[in-house]
Amino acid sequence: MLPSLLIVFREVFEAGLIIGIVMAVTSGVAGRARWVAAGVAAGVLGACLVALFASGLSQLFGGSGQELFNAGILGFAVLMLGWHNVWMSRHGRELAADMRAAGEAVVAGSKSLAALSLVVTIAVLREGSEVVLFLYGVAAAEGGASLGMLIGGAIGLALGAFVCLLTYLGLITIPMKYLFSVTSTLIALLAAGMAAQAIAFLQQADILTAFDQTVWDTSWILSDESFLGRALHTLIGYVDQPTAMQLIVYAATLAVIAVLMKLVAAPSAPRQRTA
C-alpha cells in the first residue's frame, strides 16, 4: 500500500502544482473549469495510451523513442505557455478589467485557455503514464489489483489533489493588482524549466551533445530527489547538476518570452483605455 501511495502522491503532486497554477492564472475566465477538466481527462487517457505502448515507444528511433517523445511534448508545452504569456500581455488587462463579455476577448480567451488546457494534458500525461506503468506492474506482480494498492493509490491521489488545491488557493489570495505579474512570472519559469528538461532528454538520446558538461553541483544543499527539490524542479526547473546547454536554453526561454511580452504588450497599457 505504501509504495503505491508514495508513487501516486509524488506524480499527482507534480501534475497538481501545474494544474493549481493554471487554475489560478485563469481565475475569472468564463468556462475555465471545463477546459481544465477536459485537459485532465485527455491527460489521463493519454497516460494510459503511453503506458500501454511504453515498450513500443522506447524502441522507436534506435531506442530513444521515449526521450524524443518527452522532449517533443515538453517543447510543445513550452510553446503553449510562452504563447499564453505573450497573449496575456496584450489582453490580460482587458480580461482583468471585466471586459470578458466582449466577443473578441472571449474568442481569444478561449484560445489561450485551450493552450493552457493542453499544458494540463501534457503534465497529467507525463506524470500519469508513470503511475499507470507502476500500478500496472504492482497489480501484475500481485496477480491482480489488491485492496492495499487501490487504497494507497486513492490516498496518494487525494493528497496530490490537495496540493493542487493549496497551490490554487494560495495563488488567488494574491491581490488582483499583482496576480498578473506573479502568474506571468510563474508561467515563464515553468516554461523555462520544461525547456531545460527537454534538453536533458535530447542529451540523453545522444541527439544534442554540445555544451553537455555539468556546470555546478548543488546536490549537497538541495538534492533533486528531496521533496523540496522535486517541487522546485516542477515549478522553476531546478536541477542540482545542470549542463551548460540546459542553462543556456533556460535563460534563452525566459529572455524570448520576456522580449515577446514587451513587444506585443498593449501600447496604451499604462494609460487609461479609451475603448
Binding site: A54, S58, A200, Q204, V239, T243
Partner: protein, 84 residues
Amino acid sequence: MLSLSIKDHQFEPAEVHAPAGKPIVFTIKNLGSIASEFESGALHVEKVIPPGGQAIVHVRPLEPGRYNFFDDFHRQTQGFLVVP
C-alpha cells in the same frame, strides 16, 4: 557498452566501470515484473523501463569519480558507475 539488468529490485551488476572522457552507453534490461525508472542526477538520465523491457541510455563523457544511479520507483535499488 555497459550492460545492466534489474531483477528482484537489484542491479546486476550493482557496480560498473567505464573509462573517463568517453561517451558511455548503458543497456538496461528490466527482468522484473514491475516498471522501473533508471535515474541519476549526476549522469543526467531518467528513463522508464517497462517490465520485460530494455532501454538504451546515453551518458556524456565523464570526469573520474563514483556516480550513483537508482530505480526511481524503488529507491532501495541502487548502483554505481565508477570512472577511474
